[in-house]
Every structure is written in C-alpha cells, then in structure tokens.
Subunit: 374 residues, 2 copies
C-alpha cells in the first residue's frame, strides 16, 4: 500500500466539520498524536511551547521555536508560522500576534485535555484573555476513532511485530530469570522484529504475587515454579500501536490459579463475541464481566474491559460500564478482562479488536489457552 | 553504592522549605520526574488523572485510580489516598474531598507548567474554585538542580552506557546505510549496554543536508560520501539520563564542512573551560558562542549552548543568553554548540557536564575531533 503524501488536508476538513457540530470556533493543539494525525508534525514535549491552531476557513497557524521551522516549511499544505527565539520573555508576545491574526480572542476554543499543558494554556490565555478554552475531547475522538485502511494496515503490522517478538522470547523463559531480564529481552526482540523505538509503553512482565497488580513495573524478582506470569506488551509501526497480554504458568499451578485462567479466557472470548457494529461499548464490557461475575470473581476484576488503541496506548472507545457509545466499523480497541488475587497472582488476556461492517475481528491471534513454560 | 530506601521524606522537607521561600502554600503534582523524585511513584500519563498534593506539615495526599492503589500502599512514608473508580463522572467529587481534607481552597498552589495538563487543572479548579494555581517552576528547579551523590553515580552510568553503545555501532557505519537503520542499531546497542527501555528521546541520526536540522527525525536517506553525520543519543539508568552528540565525516568532506567542525570543537572546549561554580549560565553560553561568532558563523548557531539534564532530557539550568543563574556544585547540564548550514550540513558536539566544588568535569569523554567513517 503506498503512503498518501497528504492525508492532512482532508483530515483538517473533517476536523472543521466536527468542530462546527460541537459549537467550537477553533482548536488549539500542542504536540501529540492528534497533531501528527492532522499535520504529520512530530515534536517532543519539552520546555518550549508549540501550538497549532485550526479554525474553519483558515490555514493552520503554528507557534513554534525558530529552530524547528524547517519542519513547518516541509508541510504539504499552507500554514501560517509564528516563530519565537530562545528568550522565554518574548514568547507571550508571539502567541498574542498569532491569536490576533486569527481573531481568536473571545472565541470558544477547543483543547486536548490529556495533552495541553499548563505551560501552553497560560500563554494562550494571556494571548486571548476573553477566549474560553474547553475540552475538545469529543470532536477529536470522533475524528480519530474510526481508522482508515492505511491506519488499519499499520496496526496489523504492529500486532504482527509484537507477536513475533514474544514468540522469540517464550522459549527462553524459565524459573530464575527476573521480570526485568525478560522485559529487556522482549524489548530487544520488538526492535529486531521491526518496532519503532518510541514504544507506546514499556512491557509489563509480572510474576507470582506481582501479577496481581495490573500495572506492575518489572522487578528483580526471579520467576518461581508455581507462578502466574503476565506479559503485557506492544509494538509501534508508523506511529500506530499494538497492545496484547497473555498469561503463562511457570510449571504446575495451584488449582485456583489455573481456574481463574480458564475463567478469564472465557471472559475474553465472550467480550470478543459480543463486539460488532451498533453494539454499545457497555454491552461488550458486560459480556466479559458477566462471565467473571458468574464465577464469583467479580470483585477481583478491578478495571474496565478495554480501551481504544491507534496512535495512543489509551484512546476512545473506552469499553466500560456506563458507555452508551455504539461501536462502528473502523474502530479499534482492546478486550482485556482480568482477575487479580492480591498477594497470590493475576491473569489478564488482551486482544486488539477491529469492528468490521459484518462483526468484529481480533487482529491478535496468539494462543490464549494456558501454556506452561519451564 | 547502596540505594537509600527512603530519600523521599528528606526531599519532601526540602520541598516544604522551597515552597515557603516562594510564597506557595502547596504543590499539586501530576506524574513525571518531580513526582518520582519526591515519592518514587511512577505512573504513565494517560486518560486517568493522578495528582499528589504536598503541603508543609501534612502527609502527601494522592488522588488516583483504585486499580493503582497498590503503589500507594507500598510507599515508605505515610500518605493520604483518595481513590476513584472507573466512571469519570465520579472523579470531580473525589478531587473535591481531597482538596477539602487539606483545606486547600483559596490557597496559592504551585503546579509544574510543563507537566500539569488541562485535564488535571480543570479537576483541581473545580475542587478548589478560589485557589490560585501558579507556576512552581522555580522551587522545583531549586529542589532538583543540584544532584546528590547517588544521582550523579546514576548519570555517570547513563553516560557510560551511551558511549559503549555508540562504540559498538561506529564500525558498522558506511555509505548506503540509512539514518533509520543506524538509529535502530544504536537503539539495540543502548539496550544491550544496559539502558532502560523508556528512552529520554529517540536517537537523532541525520546525514548530509538533514544534519542542518538540529531536531531532525531519522529518515530513509542513505549516507553518501561527503556527508556530515550528526548522532545525538542518550541512555537512561535508574531514571537518570545522558545526552551526547558527536559529528562524523563520511569519507572526505568539502573544506568548509571540515572547517565548521573545527570551529564547533573549539566552541565546545571554550564552553567546557568556562563552566565552574559561581559562573553564570550566560557566561558559559557566551564563551562557546564567541568562538562561533568570531569565525563569522554566529547566525548559523541557532540555539542556546545547553540545558540541564538529570531525570529529564531538558531541565534547569538552561545555558543561554540572559540567564544570570550562577552554577553550583552538583548541577549537571549539556554544552552543545552547533553550526547549521541550510541544505548542506550541520555540526554539533555535545557533552554532559558536572559542576564540582573546584570547577567542572565532563562526564562524557568520547573523542571530539573529526573522525572519518567509511
């Protein structure tokens, strides 16, 4: 599949429509996946503020450091650039000129709540004191939730890379290896298999009691016979990510630990089977949750069933109680039920799903049944 | 050197003193290096808000998701935890209870401008409508700028790892290899040499005309004879980073490109020689800058001379025009002058410096002279 050199102009037009539907007059974005999606521009969030302003019927406006302007010059669409120098005391004035050029004072301006920082917000407020800055979470989610063919191809590749990396690591796992050693080897294998280096998240490798903490950081604890071992990992390809979890047994397991693995496997299957176009996110959560509740482990399933994935590790649609959002073709998200028994061990099985016109497909397909590693 | 299990209580006491000196009544921090520094708590910034509130004479207060509370339970100091569940509509109330417990409404509350997001700010404002949220950049910089012995040991190790990785890659570099291939191999070697996987930044590998862009992303352009090749890379060890740049020649160079390498090498040496306790950041910038200006390349040195490093890729002290900050023992920062000739090529030579009681030491010591790779 060849890369479209300018998917951005079309995406900016879709943004304008989404803004108008939600009553916003402009969007002020700082660097992150939404900015990449709309412009291709990639910056690291550091101490220098960078802001792109999108308003219907105007070219995007960029406020950015002088030393980054080569990036703006290479854009495949017109943009109005307001560069600033190295002295922070001059930056407010540059923001002011940019906001005045777009007549943005007094307007309803959307921002990205999980990205925009106090740093940029104060410069924007200083430049347009009568403007109202409000969450644009909904129009941005609308814009990015349904993936196009190229985005889906990138995600499929990110899943393949992740699966290939895990398969290279599994034969090496045995009692005595530490979680950190396994995580290091998995990271190496992700790069070898073709992942980009800016991982969406570092692999979670948690054994024995640590596996009961869903967000454990890999420790120096050596694996022991009788441990559950949770591996939650992902790759990134062309900016799109994968996010998969499998849980293994190190040698023979206590009966209850083997039993919770079977229950979570059934909950994962029920969640996958429930997903499809027109189904609510809540219904998918419920399908997985009911299996665990029916087995009396409800209180030990302490998180939602899943979250959207794409350019971010967590994005819409969130697969949780209370969400009436109806799934649509092109949406991609995880299904990852789990049971966590404090002090003893946990199980999570996570797949990456794509809603299709007919139903739903799992992009990830590594075996989900309990595998004993020794 | 053994790890201190609780450096945090002492750091929190130093924070209280720094807040009082700057007239702040509390600090509201979200996840990031400052939170790790003060508590050891590590979270990924995602869609769930996490806030720690520090006020003199009170135990730290944490607002966080229920599913992360195991992390709070493991802290070596007392903390007051306000956990919330999976339904976002319940979060504002939990923030309100936390702010009320600390009697924080109406107070002057510091925040970290480059970390705090619109997401958390709006919850904080909703919970304490009469509070003033202001930048705590200065007390936080004061707190973290001078590194202790253990921090310096971690940074030395991060430098060693980075240098070892580059030395493993250099013999493989030759015309025809792409920037992206070299960046991938360098990333692999960083992990093999012992870097943690959450890199502070992905390596910059930029050849030929791309090297004239200080923040270029590695491209698919193959190296050619006559190219300058800038490699800007770093490792991370125990959360502390290194950040080094060297510039190489692919085969013979045009005279002017070789000449700018010599000038930048002299500017780097002048900056290193000028650094020491009591010297202003501006004086170090000037020492490096004058060498480049004297050679008539001033307009092509388009950034400041350096920035602090430690737990972040960019932090105080910034080595720039106008900064009257006086360097003190324990401060760590880069010296990285550069000359960038648009369309032709650029040179940057960057070292990681430590201010000592007697002067300044470069933690990085790879050769700085022009090396020809073929």
């Amino acid at each position: 599949m060849s890369q479209d050199p300018d998917p951005y102009t079309h995406r900016q037009a879709r943004l304008s429509a989404a803004l108008q539907r939600t009553g916003l007059e402009a969007l002020a974005l700082n660097p992150g996946p939404s900015l990449v999606y709309l412009t291709g521009l990639n910056f690291h969030l550091m101490e220098r503020p960078v802001i792109a302003i999108f308003a219907p019927q105007a070219a995007p406006t960029l406020v950015m450091p002088e030393l980054e302007t080569a990036k703006a010059a290479a854009l495949p669409f017109p943009a109005q650039v307001f560069p600033y120098g190295e002295d922070p005391s001059t930056w407010q004035e540059v923001f002011k000129r940019a906001m005045q050029a777009g007549s943005l004072d007094g307007r309803q301006i959307g921002v990205e709540p999980t990205r925009l920082r106090f740093l940029e917000l104060r410069f924007l407020e200083g430049a347009a004191p009568a403007a109202h800055f409000v969450s644009a979470e909904q129009p941005l989610a609308e814009l990015r939730m349904c993936k196009d063919e190229q985005e889906i191809a990138h995600m499929r590749r990110a899943v393949q890379i992740a699966q290939q990396a895990l398969q290279a690591v599994l034969p090496q796992i045995k009692p005595g290896l530490t979680e950190r050693q396994i995580a290091g080897e998995l990271t190496l294998q992700l790069l070898k298999a073709g992942s980009e280096a800016e991982f969406p998240f570092a692999p979670i490798v948690s054994g024995g009691p640590n596996s009961a903490n869903p967000h454990a950081a890999p420790s120096d604890r050596p694996l022991q016979t009788g441990d559950l071992l949770v591996i939650d990992w992902g790759a990134i390809y062309q900016g799109y990510i994968s996010d998969i979890t499998r849980t293994f047994a190190i040698g023979p397991l206590e009966d209850e630990l083997a039993a919770i693995h079977r229950i979570v496997e059934q909950a994962n299957a029920a969640g996958r089977a429930a997903a499809g176009p027109g189904v609510t996110a809540e219904a998918v959560d419920q399908a997985a949750r009911q299996v665990i509740e029916a087995a009396s482990y409800g209180p030990y399933f302490i998180h939602r069933t899943g979250h959207g994935i794409g350019m971010e590790g967590h994005e819409g649609p969130y697969i949780r109680t209370g969400s009436q959002l109806r799934l649509q073709p092109g949406m991609t998200f995880t299904i990852e039920p789990g049971i966590y028994l404090p002090g003893r061990g946990g199980v999570r099985i996570e797949d990456d799903m794509l809603i299709t016109p007919q139903g739903a497909a799992s992009l990830s397909d590594l075996p989900r049944g309990l595998t004993h590693l020794e």
